[in-house]
């Protein structure tokens, strides 16, 4: 056990950092312990070797390389922070507002197509799916846009028993009116005003009247 306790301190003994009394204890132990004497010798040689090792110098261009790297990093950071700091609060608020409005527009464009007309849309009642398709085709031929559930659809993909919307301008309204007359679907005269109009087309066979009654 004496050996264990002593061998723990051999490093400090070799360093010369032990107090006089501890140093004396170890010297006494060394006189009778071959193993510790061998370790002390090994430690002495190792330490003198290690302590003699030269310190590697930094490369000659170290500070230049560092400055380049710092500048690169600083530029990247500064361009963002300066941009934010340069703006006075109301400008920042304006940017936020513009971004929000722009984002909303893009969102609208992507989800629904924009509905330019928000007038009360007249309803054109047809008998059934066949009537619906006939009106849709006429609208297409008149140069109107036909929409199914808010989306523009090609002329021959209209399913029966669904509502359609016809989006059209003034001249197209007149053309459609002419085309629908021989088909037995009288379209009311074009409402006053410029721009686009919407006509809802509903088959009687499936849709109850909005007022609950039946034609």
């Amino acid at each position: 056990m004496e050996h264990e306790r002593m061998s723990e301190r051999l490093s400090e003994f070799v360093e010369g950092t032990l107090a006089a009394q501890e140093r004396q204890e170890i010297e006494t132990h060394l006189a009778s312990c071959v193993e510790c004497r061998r370790d002390v010798e090994l430690l002495r040689r190792t330490l003198s070797l290690v302590r003699g090792m030269p310190r590697p110098s930094a490369p000659a261009n170290f500070s230049q390389a560092l400055r380049r790297r710092a500048r690169k990093g600083a530029l990247a950071r500064a361009s963002i922070t300066r941009w934010i700091r340069l703006m006075v609060p109301w400008e920042a608020a304006l940017v936020v507002l513009l971004v929000a409005v722009g984002g909303l527009c893009v969102f609208q464009l992507l989800t629904h197509q924009i509905r330019p007309v928000e007038r009360a849309a007249p309803v054109l009642w047809v008998q059934d799916g066949e009537g619906l398709r006939a009106v849709a085709r006429a609208a297409w031929e008149a140069g109107a846009e036909v929409r199914l559930l808010g989306r523009r659809v090609p002329p021959d993909s209209f399913l029966s028993a669904t509502e359609l919307e016809i989006l059209l301008d003034g001249p197209a309204w007149e053309r459609l009116r002419e085309r629908l007359l021989p088909l037995g679907h009288p379209l009311p005269p074009r409402p006053a005003g410029e721009g686009l109009f919407v006509i809802e087309v509903k088959p009687r066979a499936v849709a109850a009247r909005p007022d609950g009654g039946v034609d």
Binding site: S11, L42, L43, V50, R55, P56, L66, R69
Partner: protein
């Protein structure tokens, strides 16, 4: 020159205390440097790099065992110091603080390198093949010309240090290569005095045993 320094000069003029004066004036110039650094003075950063690049780089080489990695980490150390100098309270010497940052950066890099080496390791490593840790650090393998130059012992020593565990290596490097005091090592590693001493002894014995065939 500030008032403190003038008083000091006046005091030391009379008495024979040139060593005390030089220590104190060193402390004053370090305080001045730190204050300039904290103000973001660019010239002060150049001065810091000029004064400490070899210490920082040297410690990186010793801990990482690879000059290219060491240069990269040493640059990172200075870049992080540019930012964190504001948190330096002067409770330790600037060099001790720098050593601590360097040591932490190196340990992180070692972890990263080992993980990478482990990921790249073949799934069925043969028995007796060097461990991933050994592969990372034994990159300081001797070149023929180094052996011919009579640097055999130095190269062997570098390899032996590279083969130590991270915990052992850092203590040998800080104490025996960088000649730091135990107090400084405690600050740098965050270890208690007893742990530093007992671990350092085990590290030195391990190194001594590795080198014993050549001693």
């Amino acid at each position: 020159m500030n008032c403190f320094e003038q008083c000091l000069r006046a005091l030391t003029w009379a008495g024979p205390a040139p060593i005390l004066f030089s220590m104190l004036s060193q402390a004053t110039s370090e305080r001045r440097l730190v204050r300039a650094l904290q103000r973001g003075d660019e010239a002060a950063f150049d001065e810091l790099v000029r004064l400490h690049q070899h210490k920082v780089f040297g410690l990186c080489v010793r801990l990482l065992g690879d000059r290219a990695e060491a240069e990269d980490v040493a640059q990172e150390v200075f870049l992080s110091v540019f930012v964190s100098i504001r948190t330096f309270r002067g409770e330790s010497l600037l060099s001790t603080w720098l050593y601590r940052i360097t040591r932490n950066h190196c340990l992180n890099r070692l972890k990263f390198l080992k993980r990478r080496a482990f990921d790249r390791q073949k799934p069925l490593a043969e028995e007796g093949e060097p461990s991933p840790v050994g592969t990372v650090l034994a990159s300081a393998s001797p070149r023929p010309d180094q052996m011919a130059e009579g640097r055999q012992m130095e190269v062997l020593l570098e390899r032996a240090i590279g083969e130590l565990s991270d915990e052992h290596r850092e203590l040998v490097v800080l104490r025996d290569l960088e000649n730091l005091s135990y107090e400084e090592i405690e600050v740098i590693t965050g270890l208690a005095e007893g742990t530093v001493k007992s671990r350092l002894h085990r590290a030195r014995m391990e190194l001594a045993r590795k080198l014993s065939p050549y001693l």
